[in-house]
Point group: none
Chain length 162, copies 2
């Protein structure tokens, strides 16, 4: 078995137990597996991405750490559909507005939250001297980040149904 897979399993086991969140020390983990610290980054970059349903953050310096949060994903979920199927790596302004409105309509988010999302994805928010294609790529990324955050906030009982 490859080291990366072993480390992936190890981290997932930590997450499985009970908490959907774990903090680890990069250097400790690297030493435990007798590998370069950057190997840990490789595992995170290839197996714990937003698309895989994980959000990671970190702190450098003394007492630094890497935090991994697992976002629960239920199949058949509207959010899941948006994240993995509807939104690719490009999203135009008009579609974004429609999708935000739908999220509110389906009561996945509040009306206020939908407005906030729409504002962040609006042409004004993304007005800058860059090609439209790049804006659409950016819009998709921003939308996905917000979607993941919404999934994170949804309570367990909400996740059973759509």
């Amino acid at each position: 078995m490859r080291l990366s897979d072993t480390i992936e399993s190890f981290i997932k086991a930590m997450l499985q137990e009970d908490q959907p969140e774990v903090e680890l020390k990069r250097n400790e983990l690297a030493e435990y597996f007798h590998c370069a610290p950057s190997q840990i980054n490789y595992v995170l970059a290839t197996r714990f991405t937003p698309d895989h349903g994980y959000v990671t953050s970190s702190q450098r310096g003394g007492g630094g750490f890497i935090r991994i949060v697992r976002v629960r994903q239920s199949s058949g979920d509207h959010l899941n559909y948006l994240l993995h199927e509807r939104v690719g790596d490009s999203l135009d302004a008009q579609s974004a507005q429609i999708l935000c409105a739908q999220l509110a309509e389906r009561k996945v988010v509040t009306l206020e939250e939908a407005h906030l999302m729409a504002a962040a994805l609006s042409p004004q928010a993304l007005s800058a001297p860059m090609p439209e294609a790049m804006k659409n790529t950016l819009r998709a990324k921003i939308f996905r980040c917000m979607l993941l955050t919404v999934m994170q906030q949804k309570k367990p009982q909400d996740q059973e149904n759509g």
Copy 2:
């Protein structure tokens, strides 16, 4: 846990009790935590800034002290301050996170809304092959758009109270 975090908690606990204001002796506190006095300044500089909702002042010499005051402001005033003074046309990722957290702490927005805003402004959301300066410009624009949206949503309430 980092010393800085411990000291931060300690000071916040002092503030919690009743007063929105506390006075402390730098040397005493440093001795209490067995650290260099300048460590206290570091904590103030990184965790008790206006962005964090605090204003500090001090007096040197015999009987000297450091005063920390938690700033109170109405939602409307706070939003105006952010929009017209604090956020120019550039905003770095870290400041963005702090300002979003502050909006929630002051109950200008809900915690969920703050998370959504933070997500839209995060480095991941704005990860693209472009110079950091351009990202900061974009971040300021996105933040402004969201702030304006929050303002519009707040309007009806502001007309009733302050």
